[in-house]
């Protein structure tokens, strides 16, 4: 008997497995991205490794959400290289934040080894500041959703996560949970409407209802 060895070096297969929440695919990509990103960033920035690790994790979350929400389209660039470009923008963004908040006393990004980088820094300029504002707004929204989710009963949270995460039909989810399809759909809708109401009420969002 031969062990099945998935070929994650095939980007189409890798992306499909990531969309399907394949644990092995996450590991494979994460290890490669860590190497590519750290190797790229270390000679170019004095941001400490702890910060680079934080940025890497944030980058991976961004990429995976982009993938699941259709905002990432594979265009031939190796996926780890795409992640690296996202990562580097976030590194520069973090550096700018440091500079504003701490006057950049001891942290600097150096570009002595990469003339391309100095051009990129100049180009990003205001875009990065705008990106920071967007990221902060997004962070607030994530906290709102997190708070609203945490107030739901665990079975409700499970149904909602299944609805958004698992790419299964409601029938498959119902089978997984040992419930009928009709009941699962009804319960899911009630749970989502509770979550929705909490978001709308607590944060004074407009509701046409």
């Amino acid at each position: 008997m031969t062990d099945f060895c998935p070929d994650f070096s095939n980007p189409f297969y890798l992306l499909e497995q990531l969309r399907n929440n394949d644990d092995a695919a996450f590991r494979w990509l994460y290890v490669r991205c860590e190497r590519v990103c750290m190797t790229y960033a270390r000679p170019r920035t004095k941001l400490p490794d702890d910060d680079l690790s934080d940025v890497l994790q944030d980058t991976m979350v961004t990429f995976l959400v982009q993938l699941r929400t259709g905002k990432f389209t594979y265009q031939g660039v190796p996926i780890e290289q795409y992640v690296r470009s996202l990562f580097w923008k976030k590194c520069v963004d973090r550096w700018r934040k440091y500079r504003h908040e701490r006057s950049m006393s001891s942290l600097q990004i150096t570009d002595s080894t990469d003339p391309e980088q100095s051009a990129a820094l100049a180009l990003y300029g205001d875009l990065l500041a705008e990106g920071t504002a967007r990221a902060e707004e997004k962070e607030i929204w994530l906290q709102r959703v997190e708070t609203a989710l945490s107030r739901l009963e665990p079975p409700c949270r499970e149904l909602i996560e299944n609805f958004y995460l698992a790419r299964h039909s409601s029938k498959t989810v119902a089978n997984m949970l040992g419930l009928s399809d009709g009941y699962t759909r009804l319960k899911r809708t009630r749970c989502l409407n509770t979550l929705r109401k909490q978001l709308l009420n607590e944060y004074a969002l407009h509701d046409d209802a």
Binding site: F26, R27, Y30, V31, E34, R35, M38, T39, R42, P48, D49, D50, D51, S53, L56, Q57, M60, V61, L64, V65, R68, T69, G70, S106, L107, W141, L142, R144, V145, E146, L149, I160, E161, F163, Y164, L165, R167, S170, R185, L186, R188, T189, L192, N193, L195, R196, L199, L200, L205, H206, D207, D208, A209
Partner: protein, 89 residues
């Protein structure tokens, strides 16, 4: 607007890009004229992105810790620890 089962499925299929082409065209035509539907789509998009982000944050955090612990990452470089933080020995 409190979306019912069918509308939730339709919104989710639209956001997942899994609506058949004809249904997608019809849905987009409704979006042009139905402001409440557009608001609902925005809200569902936000909730969906929030749920996905939270899920992936936990997944990536756990994966990072595990891979760091079992030595799958590049070795640390001297002098690159966070300033003002004690070194781990």
């Amino acid at each position: 607007m409190n979306p019912d089962n069918d509308l939730l499925d339709e919104l989710n299929d639209y956001l997942n890009d899994t609506l058949p082409p004809e249904s997608r065209t019809q849905f987009e035509a409704r979006l042009l004229t139905d402001e409440a539907l557009r608001d609902e789509l925005d809200l569902q998009r936000t909730i969906r992105e929030g749920v996905l982000s939270l899920y992936y944050q936990n997944l990536v955090k756990n994966l990072h810790t595990e891979l760091q612990t079992n030595g799958s990452f590049l070795p640390p470089v001297n002098g690159r620890s966070t300033p003002n933080k004690p070194e781990n020995h």
